[in-house]
Amino acid sequence: MTTLQPILKADDLSKRYEDGVLALDHLNLEVRGGEVYCLLGANGAGKTTTINLFLNFIPPTTGTCFIKGIDVNKDPLEAKKYVAFVSENVMLYGNFTARQNLDFFAKLGGKPNLTKEQYYQVMRRVSLQEKAFEQRVKTYSKGMRQKLGISIAIIKDAAGILLDEPTSGLDPKAAEEFQETLAELKGEGKAILMSTHDIFRAKEIGDRVGIMKEGRLVMERTREELQYEDLVKIYIDYMKSEPLTA
């Protein structure tokens, strides 16, 4: 099911912020279609920075991000056609209903002619309650907003999906449903790059898992390799070890 060419690719990616913080230190990673890549790491490890670089929100200090082979920095508009994005803690437009939010982002994502039924389908897919579809989003709970955020990414139907801690704030049932959705998207051949703190879920859903520390990818394991290793132990060992930059 996986494609040969990576859909998401970070090549020698570094980011030093204006204040001198080296947030990302020569990162290399690839995600193919039909593959879920989980990025683990403590707060401040550089996960969000990585995703922001893929979306051209910030310029890289060195290296390049490719989306479907397109250099994100050189042709951001073209690259962004092929990637959808779920951010952590998105509030969305509170004055709009879920469907109005979805409609707006679908149009921005290049899907101008969707029907109400199509919007409803996507919202059902992330198991948002039916009665919330036409409610103003300002009445939503955090979990409901997160689900709507995921449906916004789904409706774009892009080859690559970037998720920044999408499960933070979801209750266990919602997290379980989210995992199913993710498996479906993977089944559709999407390349999924997800940052998360949830080691257990990363192990379950990730085809590959990377651990970041101080901007470096310090470990990468495939699903097969993880069958014989204890991810939790590896993770904690890495977190406990000496700082990289002494």
């Binding site: 969000t48 922001n52 979306l55 929100f57 910030i58 951001p76 508009l77 073209e78 962004k80 056609k81 990637v83 959808a84 994005f85 951010s87 803690n89 998105v90 509030m91 969305l92 437009y93 509170g94 004055n95 709009f96 109005q100 707006f104 982002f105 149009k107 921005l108 994502g109 290049g110 101008p112 955020g149 916004i152 774009k156 970037l162």
Partner: protein, 461 residues
């Protein structure tokens, strides 16, 4: 893409509670202020009309109040209601309405004030949150994760947000105009319609500039609370501080003698020539107007004989005083222009100056009225004042002092020149307002360009 974001902005703003509040505010204030001020104009006009008829032939003239002061009171109450001329001088009357203490302390509310202060503030605050609020709620990242240019986003935000601001403005103005029309206000009389249209166009330009300024502030901040505070300070600076520092600053740069000092100077210039005149007339006084009982007191002979002698001096007094007054006026006008130019750094001031000119209550009208007075003074002096005289003789040792005044009898009836204040023509006002119009367009370009560039580099994380 532009249309999608434009429509979203439109809907989002209209659904927000602030739209309701602004609409209510406009719908109450704009019609109410216009109706009240037009009623004030009606009263002023009646007063003017009655006073003018009552005065008949006299040396007092009356200034017709400006109908468009209903839109902007401006200098309406600063300019005199009437002016009494006498030989060599004039005295303004009724410039300040002293019964209206509060209005003089706080300033009256009129259309121009509502736009420059209230709507100006609303424009800055409205736009001030447009970028950073989307950052706060995380939607800016979601939007920019799509193939859409930042320039499209900021352009659509301006177009959408500003359209929403224009809705209450346009609606309340329209309602107010209809109400005025119903009250019999001369909207379509004597070029008023074009002037009202000009005020509205200027308002839109000014509000657009303030809106762009708000957008710029929004792209320089990452928190709505900070943006609102910054917008508020920018507004205070532009609508209060700069316009209010113009005059004192100009006063420091261009020092001119006070009105009192000027009057004393003027009196001295005049008395110098009067003295010379008195000396020249002394032999005639001696001849016809004896003080010590010798000969006969022949007033008629004196008034006849003094004419040719005095004429030269009186013309000199006239000319010298005219020159003196013109020089002082010029100084005042230079200083005024300097202060106005300093104030023009602020879009609010540029807007107010231009809009008031179109309301016939601006600086252009002050100057126009002052010119009219000058011209009328010359006419009066030719037709009326030349018949009256005051001759004063003071001996060099100051011991003898004789003064006599009277009127030489004119041939036939005195023909009092008529005074009818002519408001500046539309083209003239347009010329006067052109710099401010250009400035407002310039502010629009600068502020929007700043917002555009700043948003291009806006940190969306």
């Amino acid at each position: 893409m532009f249309k999608t974001i434009f429509k979203k902005e439109l809907l989002d703003q209209i659904l927000s509670p602030k739209f309701l509040i602004v609409s209510l505010l406009c719908l109450v204030l704009v019609p109410a202020s216009l109706l009240l001020n037009s009623a004030g104009y009606d009263d002023a006009f009646r007063e003017y009309d009655a006073a003018r008829k009552e005065a008949g032939n006299s040396t007092e003239i009356f200034r017709e109040p400006s109908a468009l002061s209903a839109f902007g009171i401006g200098l309406e109450n600063v300019m005199p209601k009437s002016v009494v001329f006498s030989k060599y001088q004039m005295e303004a009357r009724g410039a300040q309405v002293q019964s209206e203490v509060l209005s003089n302390i706080n300033g009256k509310i009129d259309f121009v004030v509502i736009v420059s202060f209230l709507l100006g503030l609303i424009a800055v605050l409205y736009a001030g949150t447009m970028a950073c609020e989307e950052k706060e709620i995380g939607t800016l990242k979601l939007v920019l994760a799509n193939p859409v240019k930042r320039s499209t986003v900021i352009g659509a935000k301006f177009a959408g947000g500003f359209s929403v601001l224009l809705i209450p403005f346009a609606l309340s103005t329209l309602i107010a105009l209809l109400l005025l029309l119903g009250q019999g206000f001369p909207i379509f009389a004597s070029g008023n319609a074009a002037r009202i249209a000009a005020v509205i166009v200027l308002s839109v330009l000014y509000l657009a500039a303030m809106f762009s300024l708000g957008l710029f502030i929004s792209t320089r901040t990452h928190k709505t609370s900070l943006a609102l505070l910054a917008g508020f300070f920018a507004w205070i600076f532009l609508t209060f501080i700069i316009p209010k520092t113009g005059e004192p600053l100009a006063g420091l740069i261009r020092r001119i003698p006070s009105e009192d000092a000027m009057k004393a100077n003027r009196a001295q210039v005049r008395s110098q020539i009067e003295k010379e005149k008195g000396k020249a007339l002394a032999p005639l006084m001696e001849k016809y107007l004896h003080v010590d009982g010798r000969g006969k007191w022949d007033w008629d002979a004196y008034t006849k004989a003094r004419g040719p002698v005095a004429q030269n001096y009186e013309e000199r007094i006239d000319q010298t005083l005219q020159k003196f007054d013109a020089a002082y006026e010029q100084k005042k006008s230079d200083r005024r222009n300097l202060s106005l130019n300093i104030a023009r750094i602020s879009p609010a001031s540029a807007f107010t100056q231009a809009a008031l000119n179109f309301c016939d209550t601006g600086v252009a009208d002050l100057e126009n009225f002052s010119r009219s007075l000058q011209n009328h003074g010359i006419l009066l002096s030719r037709a009326v004042f030349k018949y009256s005289f005051q001759d004063t003789f003071t001996s060099d040792d100051g011991k003898t002092n004789r003064s006599m005044g009277g009127a030489s009898s004119p041939e036939g009836k005195i023909d009092y020149p008529k005074f009818r204040y002519q408001f500046p023509a539309f083209e003239e006002t347009l010329r006067a307002a052109a710099p401010d119009l250009v400035l407002l367009i310039f502010f629009n370009l600068i502020f929007f360009a700043a917002a555009y560039v700043s948003f291009g580099g806006y940190d969306v994380r």
